[in-house]
Amino acid sequence: MAKIYDVAVVGAGPTGLSAAVYTTREDLETVVLDHGVIGGLIATTEIVDNYPGFPEGIGGLELSDLMRKQAERFGAEIRTGVDVAGLERSDELLTLKTNSDPVLAKSVLIATGSSYKHLEVPGETELGGRGVHYCATCDGPLYRGKRLVTVGGGNTALQETLFLAKFASHITMLVRGSEFRGAEVLVEQIQKLPNVEVKFNTSITKILAEGHKVSGVETVDNATKAKGQLETDGVFVFVGLLPNTGWLGGAVELDKRGLVKVGNDFATSLPGVYAAGDVCAGSIGQIASAVGEGVSAALSIRHYLAPHHVAK
């Protein structure tokens, strides 16, 4: 007979790990499943400067590792390399279909967060890894002394451009709108950098290649419709996020943007299934709020399981 967990958390980002700290402390047997890295998107952030408790900031990788250790200290079982491909409910039991054995649980927390959106322009897919990138902390150091284009005007674009500016000789930051959408403190830092030039109202229409590597981009001015071209060695894309909900296949109700609809208690439309963090409609996409939502969802799960739960 397969093991039945009290709680299966899908996603080992700050939401999932915070929830696991609380559920395990409530003596609920908890498994956390993730296909990629512990910490999710924060693990790919060089420095987290706005999470309380770290006055000097903390590396995203280090914060992820601390959250993992804390969840494991209370007994959470964390499994990586697990692709969750579906969710079904039958006789009050939930089954998560995975790339290996199914995982059975009395309750599920969807904490799969979001992934970086692509530009969807010609050249982007073909040149992936050959000049088109989405992780500055991974691939940015290979562009020491090279010219780069970064795309996006939000917090992620600002923060990642600050990181890339340590390596690149010159960065052209392309922003679709007429102003930045990120925090003023980041904007001020960008404006002080001598090797970063910002072009507002500018979008990429095509990524150009010479041989098998990026050589430039074609652009359009969104205000005047004037076309342009820029030479570059690489393009880093930070144009927003897409919720990781494709795997749910209609098991829970989503909004028109593909975000999970939840109530005040973080319950989804399927009994026993909760969702929290960036994957939910109404999320504000901050680490601190993701942690808070994970904790709130964990307490709702405790309440849901209470009539059936016998302490070990």
């Binding site: 390399g81 691939d139 150091p141 562009y143």
Partner: protein, 85 residues
């Protein structure tokens, strides 16, 4: 591991996926050589020529029959298959 001659992993310093892959290999007692392509310009050039791209982690699994499997990104199922774990 007996059918594996060597495992070489090309990495950069603050890459989360590189970190996760190193932890994965250590958990399974797989010995590997790490080549830092962010701090060694010559290694970076060799890496780009070998892999034909500029993304990390990039792992080369050399087998007993001298064939190589190249794995881009932290692809845990593919790594597990290549390493027989």
């Amino acid at each position: 591991m007996s059918k594996i001659k060597s495992v070489t992993m090309y990495t950069t310093g603050v890459c989360a996926y590189c970190h996760a892959e190193k932890e994965f290999l250590k958990q399974h007692d797989i010995k590997f050589d790490e080549v830092r392509v962010d701090t060694d310009a010559q290694a970076a050039e060799e890496f780009i020529n070998l892999s034909g791209q500029m993304g990390v982690p990039f792992t080369v699994v050399k087998k007993a029959d001298d064939t190589e499997e190249h794995i881009l990104g932290f692809d845990q199922p593919r790594l597990a298959h290549a390493l027989g774990i």
